[in-house]
């Protein structure tokens, strides 16, 4: 068809490469996705309570990580952190090793960029909780902390499901940069397959389809979650 050659898809070697790579990509996305939500919650709480010292520092970190490319952040973490002291000495061999593996660095770069975005998403959710709700709870004797944990945060999390989904999909897509620091995700193996088969277009098309499929499944799943947790009469933050 159109002169394309997809026979390599039948080769068990390439099949096993793609499966191994897919597993890594999914693991990367799940770990970074969960962490980014946790970062979002903690960061939003710090900003919400205007925690001294931590709050301005969080603001600066958000500004830094949101406005620089995750790829450069990744290179920085991967190549530089050991230079500024993040390394340990292997007790067996006596060799100096970086604290963070390539996998960890990729997760780190996804967490900084998309975590910063997650903080802003949860914050926007909190700010769209009606002030009457908060006033009502306060007048019933709830402390600020209780109001945050029992009212504002749960409401914010539910209202921001669509935005959070976009952020998770963005993590899945951005995780492809793992291949550039020799982390064996699906893009890495695809590149290897491309170099062996010389069938660049075909391999890239398959790779593209796989990512679109994962992202679409996640989007559809999130839409179901969003419907399930939706509070009648409450809008969504977009």
């Amino acid at each position: 068809m159109f002169g394309f050659d997809f026979s390599w898809l039948g080769d068990p070697l390439y099949q096993s490469w793609f499966m191994k790579g897919l597993a890594t990509t999914l693991l990367l996305s799940v770990v970074a996705g969960i962490l980014s939500i946790l970062i979002g919650i903690v960061g939003a709480a710090i900003l919400h309570f205007r925690t001294p010292f931590l709050a301005p520092f969080t603001v600066i970190l958000i500004d830094l990580f949101r406005n620089t490319p995750p790829l450069v952040q990744l290179f920085f973490f991967y190549f530089m952190l050991s230079d500024v002291g993040f390394s340990f000495t292997d007790p067996l061999t006596g060799a100096s090793m970086p604290v963070f593996s390539g996998f960890t660095c990729v997760v780190l770069s996804l967490c900084t960029f998309n975590g910063a975005i997650a903080i802003e998403i949860i914050r926007s959710g909190i700010s769209s909780v009606p002030s009457q709700t908060v006033e009502g709870a306060r007048s019933l004797g709830y402390t600020r902390r209780q109001v945050f944990l029992t009212m504002e945060l749960p409401l914010a999390l539910r209202m921001t499901v669509p935005l959070m989904t976009n952020n998770i999909v963005s993590i899945i897509k951005t995780s492809a940069q793992a291949s550039l620091v020799a982390v064996t995700d699906i893009t890495y193996y695809a590149t290897q397959a491309m170099l062996e088969t010389f069938l660049n277009i075909e391999v890239m098309m398959v790779l593209w389809l796989i990512y679109v499929a994962i992202a679409t499944i996640v989007s559809l799943g999130a839409r179901a979650i969003s419907r399930a947790v939706r509070i009648p009469g409450y809008g969504l933050v977009s």
């Binding site: 500004d63 450069v72 593209w208």
Partner: protein, 269 residues
């Protein structure tokens, strides 16, 4: 000075201070040497050539590629966004499907794919064209950004009340004229912050064109590191982070300020 501006300045100088702190922590007593290396390579990183009298790439290439992609994505995004609100269900559903496909594509893979999908030499109507890696990067970046822009336009169009459509139709205007004369003039100011945010995101994405073989800032950075030695890699990457931050931060901050202004005007008007 307004509170917003104060906050923006704290963020701006705070980040620069953080980057500077990392720089000093990494180099300690050798900081001056690293600064000298950076100074020598600054023109290469900024404009891709050794002196400031010619331009060959570097950070300027990222700016150029981002602007060109933005133009392409805006033109295509308007058409596609219009199509997602079209009355004809077949046109509408096709457009929505296309937008979702484009949105869910990873930028890096799209860039790789464009590298191989687009031939390097095209002959169109008998004239031969060289398709430079930069042109491919523009096409590749335009794919996801077109989807984002079409969403921005769709949201903007939908932010105008239905009554505007109805009264314009009652006055005898047709769909195209209503969009052009009535809807877009009202929707555009609403879209500006989203357009700016999308542009900032696109600009951050230009870091990925390193895989296309363009002389962008990251490719130059890698070459500089290969030539000057690994010792100065931290300095070079910090410099690149700084460049991206200085360019993107004002855009992001301004877009948020405009958004707040529009929201306030909406509450009072």
């Amino acid at each position: 000075m307004s509170r917003e501006l104060t906050h923006a300045l704290i963020g701006f100088f705070g980040v620069i201070a953080v980057l500077g702190g990392v720089f000093l922590a990494a180099y300690g007593g050798d900081s001056l040497d690293a600064v000298i290396v950076l100074t020598n390579r600054a023109s290469l990183l900024l404009i891709g050539s050794n002196s400031f009298d010619s331009v060959g790439g570097g950070f300027l290439a990222n700016i150029g590629i981002s602007l060109a992609s933005m133009v392409v994505a805006t033109v295509l995004g308007v058409s596609l966004g219009g199509a997602t609100t079209a009355p004809n269900p077949m046109v509408r559903n096709t457009a929505i499907l296309v937008v979702n496909l484009m949105r869910n594509s990873p930028w890096l893979v799209v860039l790789y794919a464009m590298l191989y999908l687009i031939p390097f030499r095209l002959s169109i109507f008998g004239t031969e064209y060289w398709v430079s890696p930069a042109a491919k990067a523009v096409v590749g970046l335009s794919v996801p950004v077109t989807a984002y822009m079409s969403e921005v336009f769709r949201a903007g169009i939908q932010s105008v009340p239905d009554g505007q459509w109805e009264s314009a139709r009652a006055l005898g205007y047709r769909r195209g004229a209503i969009l052009r004369r009535i809807i877009l003039p009202q929707a555009l100011p609403q879209m500006i912050p989203n357009i700016m945010t999308t542009y900032a995101m696109l600009f951050i994405g230009t870091s990925l064109v390193v895989v296309t073989g363009t002389k962008d800032v990251l490719s130059v950075a890698k070459t500089v590191i290969a030539s000057d030695g690994d010792d100065y890699a931290t300095a070079v990457y910090l410099f690149v982070l700084l460049l991206f931050f200085i360019y993107c931060y004002p855009i992001a901050t301004a877009s948020r300020a405009i958004e707040q202004k529009i929201r306030k005007a909406g509450l009072h008007g």
